[in-house]
Symmetry: C2
Subunit: 197 residues, 2 copies
């Protein structure tokens, strides 16, 4: 069935969905009342239509300014820089940070041809200029991989000419980890970052 | 964001998708070019519009008769009865069966009020009447749970008045299983169904 194959192949492109699950979801939808597919389609279209990027931090938003940038209760002197909207969501869920954000929408990757102009790096510097000294700290919260490190390094260099403290979130052993299963890099970071007890 | 929450809650209803993955899929779609969402939506709508049930066996089909019922190379004397289209797909993938099918679209469940009239049971009997002796065997391939057993028992009783052999697929130890991890029911079936070596 051509239309079933087409649906399965589109579902397979979604993150974390393999061929088997794509098939199961397709058959599930065909078995359920058509209103369920209509509601799913309507919500997909609505999300694409209504959700834009915040003009300040580039997080997702239905308004020109996102919920966080509009929230007067946030600590206004700190910006946490993340790679993707999903990273912001994860930090928010941890309730470990109460400041503002900046979403880069990518990481530098010379191999894949991603240059500073392809991510929202320039606009971070512009925000700092506009802020007139209000921003006192920029927290870099990139993923701990090669692209994330390269991006953090680049931003740290660019930020040198601004009167802000630049910090990076700590690396170390994750909660609940087995020391004997951890990779060497993580253990090295954990020892380098050790603190007095 | 209301429209993001709506999309996430619709994705969570799909089989095997938890809250975390629903969020990841939503953010992924918003990050990708809009054409990808359009293509996904188009394929969902096309599948719902074009895919109907085969008038003979009730499997999914874009034509009045499904690919299998139209296929002259199938063994025409046997009907394998399954609960859902997904079960048919699984049997086809195993390449262990070359006959025809009958998809019930459900199982009997007195507790949930599913009676014989709510599944495609009557139409199996009508197929046998119409077949004029062409069908010689009906293979029952229900899931090995209470509803599946009840459905198989009901069908076997109904089929008594027809000149067909009624069989049931074997229960036993699945390939690659650890005997000491198997439940008692499966082991009992495996012993009851033992064959000469």
């Amino acid at each position: 069935m051509r239309s079933l194959d087409r649906l399965i192949s589109n579902l397979k492109r979604l993150p974390g969905i393999g061929p088997k699950q794509a098939e199961r979801i397709s058959l599930h939808l065909l078995r359920r009342p058509p209103e369920e597919t209509r509601e799913l389609v309507a919500s997909l279209e609505e999300a694409r239509r209504n959700i834009r990027f915040c003009r300040e931090c580039h997080y997702l938003s239905e308004e020109p300014l996102c919920d966080i940038c509009r929230d007067g209760a946030r600590e206004p002197h700190t910006i946490c820089v993340v790679e993707q909207p999903g990273d912001l969501v994860a930090v928010e869920k941890s309730r470990s940070y109460r400041g503002l954000y900046h979403v880069l929408h990518g990481t530098l990757s010379p191999l894949e041809g991603v240059a500073p102009k392809d991510i929202r790096a320039e606009s971070l510097l512009e925000r700092l200029k506009r802020s007139d000294g209000r921003i006192r700290e920029v927290v870099l919260a990139m993923d701990p991989d090669m692209e994330g490190e390269a991006t953090a390094l680049y931003l740290a260099q660019q930020l040198r000419s601004y009167p802000v403290k630049v910090t990076k979130i700590a690396r170390g052993i994750p909660l609940g980890a087995d020391l004997d299963y951890l990779d060497e890099g993580t253990l090295t970071s954990a020892f380098e970052g050790r603190r007095e007890f």
